[in-house]
Structures are given as C-alpha cells and as structure tokens.
Amino acid sequence: MTEPVRTEPAIRETVYMDYSATTPCDPRVVQRMLPYFTQNFGNAASRSHQFGWTAEAAVDQARQEVAALLHAHEKEIIWTSGSTEANNLAIKGVAQMYRQKGNHMITAVTEHKAVLDTMKHLEGEGFQITWLPVDRKGHVDLEQLAAAITDQTILVSLMAANNETGTIHPLATIGALCKQKGVLFHTDATQATGKMELNVDTQHLDLVSLSAHKMYGPKGVGCLYVRRKNPRVRLTAQMDGGGHERGMRSGTLNVTGIIGMGEAARICRTEMATEIPHLAALRDRLQQRLLAGIPDAVVNGDEAARLPHLTNISFPYVEGESLIMGIKEIAVSSGSACTSASLEPSYVLKSLGLNDELAHSSIRFSLGRFTTTAEVDFAADRVIAEVLRLRAMSPLWEMVQDGIDLSQVKWTVH
C-alpha cells in the first residue's frame, strides 16, 4: 500500500548543515503541491476545460508569489527547470538578442559554473568576456567594473550572494551603474532568496535567476525574472516549441514544482523578517564556538556583507578530506571540490587569494529553517574535537608550534 505522507523532516542521525547545496521541502510546500499530482493534474496550457483552468490558476498564483518576493510584476516571471537554465537563458538569450548592439559581457571569477561556463561557451562563439577578479573578501572593484563597461557591453552578470562564502555584492550600486551606462544587469540570486532583501526596482535588476530547491521548494524548478519596462528586456529563446512563457521558454509547465516554488516564495516573504535574524544568531553561535575552540581558524568571505545562514571557515594544518571523514555525522561541504578522483581546491576560495592548503582545509557550514541550537552545539563540539585530534597528528602543526615558518620549508614535491 502507499506510504503515509511525511509532514515532518525525517529524524536524522546526521546533522544537516548543507542548506546551500539544497534544502528539504517545507512540509507546507509539499501539502500545497500534493493535490496537483492527482485530482488537479491538468496541463496549465489546456485552455478548453476545467482541468487546464485549475492548473493555470494555481500557476498564476505561484507566479504572483514569486514576483512578490522580488517586488516584481507577475508577467515578468519565466518558469525554468532551475537556476542553471535561468542563467543560460538570461546570458545566451541576451547575447543572441543584442548581438547587433555589442559583443561584450562582464562577469566575475567567483560566479557559479552555470554562469562561468555559459560565458565561456559564448566566448568560444566570438563574444568578448571580461572576467573581473575579486579581493580577499570576494568583492569586485566597482571602479574596475565601471572602467570595463564599453559601448560594446550588453550585459553585466554578477551574483547576489556567493554560494561558497556567502559574500553579498552591492546590487543597488552595481544596478545603478549599469542603468546609468545603459547595460543590462543580470544577477544569479539562487543563494539569496529569503536570506536578504531583493527588489528589482531599488536594486535596478533586469534579469534575476532563482531556484526553488534552495528555498525549501522542490528540485528541478526555478525561474528567470525578465524586466518588462524601463527597459523592456528581450531574450532569444533557447528552447523551441509551443511558445509557452511569452515565447521565452517552451515546454509544458512543471505545475506541481511551480506551485511548490510559489508556496516556498510566500513562506520566505512572510517569514524573512524573523527568519534572517534567527539564522544569523545560530550561524554566529556556531562560528564563535569554532573560532574560540580552534586557534588560527579563519573565516573566509566578508563578515560585514554575508548571507545570514552561512559561514566558511579554514582550519589550517589539517587536511580537508580527513576532516570531513572525521565529522561524518555532520553534512557539510568542503573547500575541495572532491569530485571522487580529482582533489581540486575550490576555485572560489582560490580567487579570494587562499593558497591550496587553506582552500583544502575549509568547510562551508550552511544552516537553515530546521537547524536547532542543539545541532549547532553538537556540530561545533564535534568539529573542534576532530580538528584538535588531527592537529595532534599533523607534522605541520608541530612545526608551527616549534616556530618554523612553513612557507620557508623546502618540501619534497612529487
């Protein structure tokens, strides 16, 4: 027979602190979606019967909810399969539509691969891309950005907040600059939704990418905000077909996913004011405990302009993979993109100027709606114990204690 519907997150033996990778669905989101799998299963594009009308009405309500979160108009929301697709649609769509106007675009080296690789793809097709560097905290130099804009520039793409460090870009300032120069501004706000204020008007955003699974909605659904007025942004569709979504994104809508995203956006909008300080307090508690318990631990990113739920910390003199292995009761991400074989340190942390060793030894803790104080304390205690244990067997820590400057040591490199 069928499994009972689970309305509470499962009790876990592992503490989940990887909300920036993905979030569980809020039970309210699941409840809202359920009827649309069975009774109300209609195709939102079916105009000739009640099944279609019901689905369409629910999709429109979700559209209003997502628009409200951005202070946008519902007609400006284009549903996609997530942020990867939204970033592709925004960047390739602008590149192709505005090619006559110019062939230059600007982005930063710390963007998500969905932006970087899309830009690289276009570079291969003859577009000029400026890859802005970032400073130690993950910020681009705004004067350098201004100087990079030419009469050939058609788009600036800079994320709202970084997925690894949580560093928040000054959207309103960047947006105003782009507006003044007559250049479109796209922001990948995947990590920012519900965690900071987003306002397409005051921040002068022309294109915004969002993803439901980072905001307690389901995976595989997201949207692109496309400005309709001042200026009206036009995009070349990346998918040909039935002309859904004002012709910008063909394909039968993922009705259940969209409804889930709408409910997720409603909850974010109505609860943000209390959720943000709550998350920040938990995050600060975790960070303070870790820094107090572990000498020489360093916070990466910009503590003064950072997402409230995230802290990225390097633990020098211990190696990242062994640390992750030692704290397997805590689900976190490490600074080494441990794609099974290659142990490449994170390109984001390296762009901030961290050496490979520090990048390897860094951990991203990202908390969320269901994180408890008890979990924070458990995680802090476990991480402290494990870092100290690994340091006790680290020859690097021993050398540093003996007053040796590691940068002066001649290592036997293989």
């Binding site: 003199y317 211990v318 190696e319 993979e321 062994s322 292995m325 030692g326 441990c338 099974s340 074989a341 142990l343 050496n355 490979d356 060793e357 390897h360 006790a392 067997m393 680290s394 020859p395 690097l396 820590w397 021993e398 050398m399 040796i404 590691l406 002066q408 040591v409 001649k410 290592w411 036997t412 490199v413 293989h414």
Partner: protein, 137 residues
C-alpha cells in the same frame, strides 16, 4: 569516497602517533610530501645496536588513506631490521589497506618516508651530518 574497514580503523585509532628526538644518533627521520599537494608525512625510526627498529612514530597531514598508510608503516617497522624495512614496497600497503587507485600515491609517500628515515639514520651512523631528510630550512 568509501574507505576500507582497515583504513577506517587506522584513521580512527592511529598507531604510534608522535615524535622521537630527531637529533638523537639512533633516530632516523623522514619528512616527505608538501602541504600544497595535500599530504606531508613525518616518519621516525629508533634503531637498536643490532640494526633492529625498536620504535617508530609518525605524524601525517593528509587524507584518511595517508594517515592509515603511515600508521600501518610504523606497525610494520617496529621489530623489523632496517635492511628488511628498506624492502617494504608501496604495493604491500595498497594490498593491506585495499586502497583504491586514486589513493595509491598515499602508499608511495609512505614508502618514500620509510626510505628517507632509514637514509637519515644511515647517514648519522656513517658520521656525516644528516642531509636531505631534515627539510627545515
């Protein structure tokens, strides 16, 4: 990444962690690897008059497999004659710990550390000041 039970055991209960007096005449020290490569192993042996290794210690900065490889090496070294110890091959470590291909370099590093420690001890025996193994600039 899944680890064999033996790797997990050595990682959780490493044998012979610690340091010996690197200036002592009967102690050989090998330090191999580099922090930017993700592994540094320090392996030390204390050798008796009969050429048998009476004690072995290690400290390792590296992944679980690197820690396990050096921990296992110290276990094997203790009670072994230096001449036999010099014959230890990385493939034996790979086999004992069931290391996957991506972790073979950990066993290579352990073999190198053993050789470096023995060489350091031999140099001390020959009366020449240790070179090469003391990497501290």
């Amino acid at each position: 990444m899944t680890y064999s039970d033996k790797v997990l055991d050595h990682y959780q209960n490493p044998r012979n962690v610690g340091s010996l007096d690197k200036n002592a005449a009967d102690v050989g020290t090998g330090v191999v690897g580099a922090p930017e490569c993700g592994d540094v192993m320090k392996l030390q042996i204390k050798v008796g008059d009969d050429g048998r290794i009476v004690d072995a210690k290690f400290k390792t900065y590296g992944c679980g497999s690197a820690i396990a490889s050096s921990s296992l090496a110290t276990e094997w070294l203790k009670g072994t004659h230096v001449d036999q110890a010099a014959q230890i091959k990385n493939t034996q470590i790979v086999e004992e710990l069931s290391l996957p291909p991506v972790k073979i370099h950990c066993s290579v590093l352990a073999e190198d550390a053993i050789k470096a420690a023995i060489e350091d001890w031999r140099k001390k025996q020959a009366g020449t000041p240790a070179a090469g193994s003391q990497v501290h600039a």
